[in-house]
Symmetry: C2
Subunit: 238 residues, 2 copies
């Protein structure tokens, strides 16, 4: 049996009760920290887990599946269980091998953005701002603005570097300078939401020019579409 | 102090550990079951809660805020904490009154849709299909299709009626017949995902014509945009 368990936004307190119970009865527990950072201490809640590197996820899925044929295995994943494509692959392979599986969902940035006061129904496609040069996030912003949707930007995470809010905003301004469709400027008011679900969270609504020094990591940037008055009132209370 | 706590997708097992701990130390705990159904039994985990009707949420927010000035009060909300606008209002009123608050996030359909195999980054705006006649969900589908995004449809919940999957699909076909933009037909392949997070969940990928008899409730319907091959492979394994 294989359990794919969302570990939630921040730490061990974000794991749902049924996820803790499932992990505790497994003979083997893995934690996958590659696709996203997670600050929990599983020892605190009596769970012993091995770290799971991305190379393992991609190259050794078959080994996990083999183990799951003989015993109960859990994979804990930061945020919700099936946000990253890698994790869908695990489930697909389990199906092919006839291994039973259960998915346990948890909190995720994709619903936590409700905390910004922006209506979750009005978010369009999500973009990631990578270190590499690319037009992709700018194109997604353009698409979303044509349908009056909000755009959520996630920031790049590499094994040795976390993109800061400041870097992400500068990347957006660079894209504007390069592709020039007047989608944003230094005066555009954006939302930044960093370390969601943690006691050190940061939530701000301001002009890009006033946020360019914000060097916190684990951030998301939101460029809102047209605002409903209730959204506006909430944002202005931040 | 006011705690707004996500109770997660289905039952008490979906509440994150820190949500349970916070609710247990509160003198008063409310559960809000109007905006969405929730099947938990809080007694099982030692929490005593009062039901909270919508009229209370809108008319009596001031009373809750008053209580929260004098004691620790928790409001448990199905799904994640801040999906419904009503709950943002509670936070806004708490701020105005100078009442401290904490938001605890939980699992939600907005990230659980990752379980369908569709990439969460590619979802566009979300629509609700109401019992009332309206063009709104059809317009949102049109917008999302212009940017190649997937569309998540939530189904109407009224105090005395839950829209079934079959009713929702028929409503979509009726809108197509009425507004005629060729966005869908009986042959359109859609995803239905019902009772997410529960042992009785239903997850299907099929032509609308083959799903018209599906009378389960607590459903979502997804009309996918263009599919990536990994999405296709996953959907076809359902």
């Amino acid at each position: 049996m294989l359990y794919l368990i969302g570990a939630g936004l921040w730490d061990e307190g974000d794991i749902p009760l049924k996820g803790i119970e499932a992990a505790k009865k497994c003979q083997k527990v893995y934690i996958e920290r590659y696709t996203s950072l997670w600050n929990g201490n599983l020892g605190k809640i009596g769970i012993k887990a091995e770290d799971f590197k991305r190379c393992d996820m991609e190259e050794n899925v078959q080994n996990v599946i083999k183990e799951a044929k003989e015993m109960d295995v859990a994979i804990l994943v930061p945020g919700d269980a099936l946000i990253a494509t890698t994790h869908s692959t695990v489930i697909l392979e389990a199906k092919k091998a006839g291994v039973k599986f259960e998915i346990i969902h948890a909190s995720s940035i994709f619903s936590a953005i409700g905390e910004t006061g922006l209506q979750i129904y009005k978010f369009g496609k999500t973009a990631t701002i990578p270190y590499a040069e690319t037009e992709a996030p700018y194109k997604i912003l353009e698409q979303n603005l044509t349908i009056d949707a909000h755009t959520l930007f996630l920031l790049d995470i590499t094994p040795d570097r976390l993109m800061t809010c400041s870097e992400g905003l500068k990347k957006l301004l660079e894209m504007e300078a390069k592709f020039g469709k007047r989608l944003l400027s230094k005066d555009t008011k954006v939302v930044v939401f960093c370390r969601a679900g943690s006691p050190e969270k940061v939530l701000k609504y301001d002009k890009i020019s006033n946020l360019l020094d914000l060097d916190c990591t684990l951030c998301t940037i939101i460029i809102p579409g047209p605002l409903h008055f209730a959204e506006k009132e909430y944002l202005e209370s931040l």
